[in-house]
Structure formats: C-alpha cells, structure tokens
Symmetry: D2
Subunit: 136 residues, 4 copies
C-alpha cells in the first residue's frame, strides 16, 4: 500500500555522533531518518513546520527499527524514505540506512505518523496531504 517513489538522501556522521565504541550512536540513526522524512515530504510540497502554523501537527506514533550492522565513524551512507498509507489516516514510512561503499543495509525502519488537527485534537487525513504525498 505504498507509493512507488523512494526518496534518498546522502549523509555522513558528525564528530559528536560517534560513541566510545568508535561507531555511530544508534540515537542518530533516528535523527538521520527523521531528517530524510522531513526532506522527502518537503520535496513533495508538505512542510511539517508550515503545517504546524496551519494547526496540523504530524506526530510520530510508532517506530520499529532493526539495526543490522554498525555504521563506522567515517562511513558515508544513504538514507531512504518510502511513504504509504495504512488504513485511512496512518502514514507509514519505510526507511533504510545503506552504506555507500558496498550497498550494505545497516538499518531498516517502519515509522508510523498521523496528522493531528490541533483544533479538535484528533487524527485526520487532509486531502491536500494525501494528494501531495501520493498516499494510496
């Protein structure tokens, strides 16, 4: 139930993201994925921050992440994002972190987001978002 488009974003770790084991701290896998989702949505004309000003908040409700291998401090990597719909109002985003030099999948995630209408406090799926993100 996902659109076919896969968004990709190239990234590298920043110094303070390396842990005492010489690897990228797992926390930052989420940071990279969040930023890739943000860029993906924005590239389709949906800006989280601009939506917020119009009283819609995109809110994370669940994340599942499998960490398959450890990113080293100097690895370059690609973060992917693929959007789809789950039921009528849940947006599901499938994401991967792929090491650039050998294509190895380092982590895989399923992220579920809903759009909250702040006026009612309830989840909604505005047509505009459905259309722009090509959710089906």
């Amino acid at each position: 139930m996902t659109s076919d488009h896969i968004f990709t974003w190239e990234c590298e770790a920043r110094d303070h993201e390396i842990d005492f084991q010489g690897r990228v701290n797992n926390i930052y896998y989420l940071v990279y994925m969040e930023h890739a989702r943000y860029k993906h949505c924005k590239s389709l004309g949906v800006d989280f921050r601009e939506l917020h000003d119009r009283n819609f908040d995109l809110v994370l409700i669940r994340t599942e992440i499998d960490f398959k291998a450890s990113l080293g401090g100097t690895d370059e990597f690609i973060v992917t994002s693929k959007l789809g719909l789950m039921g009528k109002i849940r947006i599901v985003c499938n994401q991967q972190i792929i090491r650039k030099n050998d294509g190895k999948i380092m982590a895989e995630a399923k992220i579920i987001v809903v759009c909250i209408d702040r006026a009612s406090g309830r989840p909604v799926m505005p047509d505009e978002i459905k259309l722009k993100l090509n959710l089906k």
Copy 2:
C-alpha cells in the same frame, strides 16, 4: 521471561530537546531510555563502557516504540527499565516513560540488545552478565 525488578529514573527535558511544536522531540525519548538502561545495568554491576574494555560490546539490534502522548517541555517524567531474556542470548528491555504528575504512560518500548564478543565477532551470553542482570 523477565526478572521482576523494575528500575526507575526521574528526568526532565533540557531546553534544546524541545521542538518547534513546544514538545519534547521524539529523538530524546530514546536518549532517556538509553540512559535509564545504562543506569539500570550499572546499578546491577554491569557497565557498558567497562565491558567494552574487556572486548564485549552490548549492541542494540531492535527497538519498537509506541508514542502514546506528547511530553510537554516542562513535564517531569519517570523512565522505567525491566530486563529479561529472549531465547538464549538476546536481552530484552521493556521500558516506559511515565509523566510524573498524573502517572500517564507517554511512551512504551521494547528494546533488544545482544552482547558481542569482539574477538569472534559473534553474539554471546557471558554467565557473569546473565547472573548480574538476573536474566532468566
């Protein structure tokens, strides 16, 4: 399959952890949980960093988190950690973030960790860790 002991740690958000929506950014839920796990293990005599020096790395392999409500920037909260065993070598940690003033569960997580023996590169379950963490 978990030990009965629930470790708790009280926390509050730091300024830079509040997002543009006035709420604690979801990234930090993981940070809080990671630190609570670290403190939990350390209170039982198992120190991640000291283990690293002895060639054992505790490595995250999967996280599942349900975000149930949004922590506001000034909320005080409690982070829990409960350790158990899944199969023979996977350590499972069930965690919650609970708002202090009303006991509301803001997030719930299942975190799976393995101990890697750096000499062999393979996951192991040293008796010492099993005993100290009371895994069964």
Copy 3:
C-alpha cells in the same frame, strides 16, 4: 556587576554524550550550562518559554568558554550559574562546571544574553526581569 547568588545544579553525562576518546564531548558542556541557566532563571520566576509567549525572547549573543580539564564519562559534576548586568541591557552569566569528587573546575564560561522585544525587534531590559533576576 553581579548578584551574589550562585545557583548550582548536579548532573552526569548521558551515554551518547561520551565521545570516541572516552570523554564528554565539549558540545555538551554548553548543553549543561544552558540547562543550568534555564533552571536558575526559572527558580527566580523567569521562564524563557513563557516569556516567548509574551513576545520577549532571551537570546544568546556571546559565549566565552575555557575548557580546563576533560570530564570523564562517569564523573558526576556540578554546574553553577551566577547572573549579573553588563551595561544597561546585557545579562551576563558566569558559569562553572565542577567535578564533584574533588571540586576541580573543569570549565569556566561567560555567557551574554539580551532580551529581545519581538514587537520592535530591539533589545530591552524589562523591569520585571531586572527585578526577578536581581540584576544590578
């Protein structure tokens, strides 16, 4: 000059704040100091976020930090904050990070903040803030 009151806050590093050299990354010294300032001001009835809603933003304009010794990953430490006035509108905050077990000063900072009135975009010193923070 400065009020006599010195605010103190006890802290410890979180796991992801430890760098590949086994020490607390310098970035976090600033994080700790920022949070101690926030708590100091709040304890005196001045809340940055609540001020923001009333169209006043407390904005950092300069930081000077001397890093004197490296915090180890397991060190407990105290962060201090002492507020004063520099000229008519600049708030100066002198801060230290002190290792708890031996009282050693690990870092020393001078932080300068101004209060911006968002209506005019200009720095101001509201009497209320001057009074509550006991600036003189």
Copy 4:
C-alpha cells in the same frame, strides 16, 4: 599568523535542531563548527580519530563565539574554517557561519585547540601536524 586557506562546508539544520522559538538552537552552531573543523583538518590529511589511535588527542581549550543573527529553521548556510598558530603549540581556528541566500554572517568564532601527547599528558606540536595543516 594564519594560513590563507579558508575551508567551507555547506550545511542545513536538521529538524530536531530547531528550538521552540523556531530558530536553530545555539548549541548546534558549535556542532556545525566542530564538523567543519574536522572536515577541514581531514581534507589536509589530519584525522582526529586516527591521531587518537596514535596517542595524540586534539583538545579544545577555549571557544569565543559571537552570535550575530538567528538562523531560521530552513536557512541554508556555509560554515568556514581558517587555521593558524598562536604561540608555538596552540592551533587557532577562526570560523564563521554565513547564510547562503544573502551572505550575512550569522556567527563568528575563535576556537583554540592543542595537541596532547597522551604518553606525557603534555601539549605538543608534532612537525607532521604543523606541516600538513600549514600552520605558521
């Protein structure tokens, strides 16, 4: 006393770096500058992490930062780094954060670093580093 070379790195804020005032949190100015320094040194053949393995640690001893204007959440910006020598062993790095669309200087910093020989615990200036970084 600085070499003429100015290194530049293009960057943009990540979502969680935006604060409740809709601006990039000042903490991250340091993160961006640290990463630009790291990339600058690495481009000249000096890698902090590789040095660490050879018992030399590059350690921050002082930072002075003037925050001149606030980076908005969607601003693209350039981080610069210019290296020089101060006395015989202190490396000084002058850095700026420049908004891309209009060239406005958002922040300016002077960062002082020394190289510690872990064997002796004392600051040193290895010829190799002096040569590669073109310090004079």
